[in-house]
Each structure stands twice: as structure tokens, then as C-alpha cells.
Symmetry: C2
Subunit: 255 residues, 2 copies
């Protein structure tokens, strides 16, 4: 493959749970050595960008915060640009900081938008019901991602997607998805590398949001067999990756 | 209308929140006087049948428990008939008693079925995640209802539907719906009156599950303008009620 820039998913590609993916760090250093720019694009919406960077550091990765593009950061920018400054945040307290730093107001009433992330224990009947009422009162439904699940250290964990689907069903409104597989999200990250879509590849463990999403923008999709990778999900998806590799460690061999 | 039997929804038709619908009780006594049998069919899945009867008594209605057909009672019978005895119950503690009385086992592991009711505060990230994992492990998804919302005393409240939709989305499985608008549910209640569908009418405040559901079985649908009734919902639904009345109090005038 002739690749001039790489976008890389974080969760399931750099680590699974608390375990680093063997050889991933070496692969990143090899990209640096060859002068191939890369950015991290993540739908992991439980953490603020600062926390994501800190966590990667804790796992032994030396990745500057500026190279990480997360759905909360992209969503906060997108909402502010659209003048939707009053947000009901169905997020973790940590992810909330990305919105507050962008100058958005976290409100419980009169919201312009209901923002749904993977809120973890922030999901309760009460918070879902409040979100629902605000949607009926006119707020837009903004989803940081619509993933089904991710691989936690003790098994699969629900992502934001199911709760977005719940609110769509309840309020009869379609969510605007800001994270992967939204084309704007991939293109925003790619812009920073200076490469065009056909010169780039996206490496991820989610066949639909990572691979299908990237391919829909003209970016090549490289699926890794780590994280939530499952042979059945690949078969069922109707998506054909440009390449399937065992893990990020193998990436340099194919570029 | 030539009607020989009536099915009546409870929540929104007999009461809204803690307020009795004016004249509803008089209408029931008039049906008794004319010898028109009626049964109550309810998707209110927060309470056991015994509690529903007790609550109606507290509101001044004298309705024997045997005339009330609730989704938990119907679901428990249906599950037992199908040999699915190990159930993960995403329900309130009160609704759980209907399942235990039917001889079903409430389990947290190795479930044959994940049963979803309006679980109120029983909905948390942890319980949703457990339901999801059991579904992936092979359990069937059984929904007591798939309603969007109901009218509580301080505003609209999410029903089971959104959380069923969430689990369907997460696990890629379609739920089996046991309560309204499942034809078997209406027909089970009707059987007790001895009337045939074309001789019967269903009175409810939900244009889709009450009116659309009844009509799909050949039962006439009478919409009341109480409870969660909204003109827009009627317009959007694509369902045409056989009759629209202000409240149950008016029913005898049309029979």
C-alpha cells in the first residue's frame, strides 16, 4: 500500500482493558521513523481528551494530546459553531470537561441539544427520562457515537449507541452522529496530516464504524484482530476491509 | 355500534397519575347494568396484577383482580408454556412477583429469556449491560410492551419500549412483544368474554398499541382524549380510530 498518513483507533487497537497491545508502540515509532504522520481518532467517549492522553501515557505510550481527536472534542466544536450552547450532557463527569472548556453550558432545562456519550453509570431511568422530555420540548439529539459495544476488561460493555437508539425510539427523532463513522470526523483528523483521503488508511477494530466509515470517505480501511474484533461481525457486516492484520504491530510491514 | 364486549385500557383511561377520570366509574356501572362484559388489558408493567387491583380500589373502582389482564401475567404464562423458566427480569420488584407466582426462576446467569418491563429505577447501566451480555449468550429478548411513554403525574415517563429498542440495537435481536399490540394479548382477554373480535371494542389512549393493535385483530378501536392522547400523535400514526370520545365516561352513549 502507498500510504501517506494513518488514522488510528485507540481502544482495542492500542490497548484492551488495562492491557497494552504487544508491539503497537514499536509500530508507532516505525511510522515516526519513516515520516508517516498519524492521528488518533476515538469514539471512546467516557473520558476527556486530557484523560485519554494521560491513560495512554500510563500504558507507556508517548502521544501528545494534540494528536488525539475524540468525539467529545469534535462535538463541542461542532455545537458551538452551530450556536447550540445550552446542552444537556448525558456523559461522564470527565467527558463533560471537554464541553465546558469549549465554552458550552451544561444545563438541565431549556437545552438546545441533548448530547449522548457513553455515560456509563450516568445512565439511569431518571437521566434518560430527562433527556427524553428535553427532546420533546425541542432539543436536538446529538450522539457522540452510535457504537453498540466495546470490549472491557471483564467482557463486552454497552456503548452510547443503544441509549441513542432508545431516545430516538422514544422521541421519534433521528440523532446527529458526530464521532465515527461521520465523514466530518475522519476528515477533520485527516486535514491535520495534509494527506488526501485516497492517500490515507484508517486502522481500527470496528468493522462498521472504523472500516465502513473510513471507506465511505475514500480512506482505506485496515481491520485489526484485536479489541472487539469478531469473525462473525466481519461476515455479517457486508463491509470488506482493504486489509486485515493481527494487530497494529504488523502495520509497518504492509505500508 | 353493536358491541357485545369491551376491552379497556387502564392507565390514562381510568386514571391519570393519581387522578381518577371523571365519570369513568359510572360508565362501568352502566356496562354492568346492560350486561356487556368487559375486561381490562394493561401494558402498565410496573406493578403486579395484585397491585394494579389494589391501586384501582384505592381510586374508588371496585374491579375484581380476575378481570384484569396485565402484560406480566400474560408473559409469565407464555414463558412457562414455552419451557423458558430461567428469566433475567428487568422489571420492578413488584412486577417480579407475577413471574415468581407462575413458577419462573429469576436468575442473573444462564437465562433462557431476558424479560423487559417498564423497570423504572431498575434501569441502570449495570442492569442494561447484564441484559445485553445474556442476550449475546443466547437468551431470548421478551418485551412486556414496546410503548414509548406514558403520562405520569408530573409529565411524560419513558415506558419499556425505548429500553427494548436499546437492547435490540445492542444485541442485533428482535424482541418478542407479549403485551399490546400483540394479537394474542387482546384475544386472550376477549376469550374470557365469549365475544368474537368483530363484536368487540377496545377503549384506549394509545393510538398505536391500543387502537392500531385492536384493529389488526378485527376489534374496533375507540380512542379516548385522556391520558397520553395528543392530536399530533393521532395525525402522525396513520391509524384511524373507529370512534374518538372525550373520555370513558361517554362510552355508554355510543354503544
Amino acid at each position: 500500500m502507498q500510504i501517506r498518513a494513518v488514522l488510528i483507533d485507540i481502544d482495542g487497537v492500542l490497548y484492551v482493558g488495562d492491557r497494552r497491545i504487544e508491539g503497537a508502540d514499536r509500530a508507532l515509532r516505525e511510522l515516526d521513523r519513516r515520516g508517516i504522520p498519524y492521528r488518533f481518532v476515538s469514539n471512546t467517549t467516557r473520558r476527556s481528551r486530557a484523560s485519554v492522553a494521560l491513560r495512554l501515557e500510563g500504558l507507556g505510550y508517548a502521544i501528545p494530546e494534540s494528536r488525539i481527536i475524540t468525539a467529545p472534542v469534535a462535538a463541542a466544536a461542532h455545537l458551538r459553531e452551530g450556536g447550540r450552547t445550552r446542552c444537556f450532557l448525558l456523559t461522564t463527569p470527565d467527558a463533560r470537561t471537554d464541553f465546558e472548556e469549549a465554552g458550552l453550558l451544561a444545563v438541565e432545562e431549556d437545552a438546545d441539544a441533548v448530547v449522548v456519550a457513553d455515560a456509563a453509570d450516568g445512565i439511569t431511568y431518571a437521566t434518560m427520562n430527562r433527556a427524553f422530555r428535553l427532546l420533546l420540548a425541542g432539543a436536538d439529539l446529538v450522539a457522540l457515537e452510535k457504537d453498540r459495544y466495546w470490549m472491557g476488561s471483564d467482557g463486552l460493555m454497552l456503548s452510547a449507541g443503544p441509549f441513542v437508539a432508545a431516545l430516538e425510539y422514544a422521541a421519534g427523532k433521528k440523532a446527529e452522529v458526530v464521532g465515527k463513522p461521520a465523514p466530518a470526523f475522519f476528515l477533520r483528523a485527516l486535514r491535520e496530516t495534509g494527506a488526501r483521503p485516497k492517500e490515507a488508511a484508517m486502522v481500527g477494530d470496528d468493522i462498521v464504524t472504523d472500516i465502513g466509515g473510513a471507506q465511505a470517505c475514500g480512506i482505506r480501511g485496515i481491520l485489526v484482530r484485536t479489541g472487539k474484533y469478531r469473525e462473525e461481525a466481519l461476515q455479517r457486516s457486508g463491509v470488506t476491509p482493504d486489509l486485515v492484520i493481527d494487530s497494529l504491530a504488523e502495520l509497518p510491514d504492509y505500508l
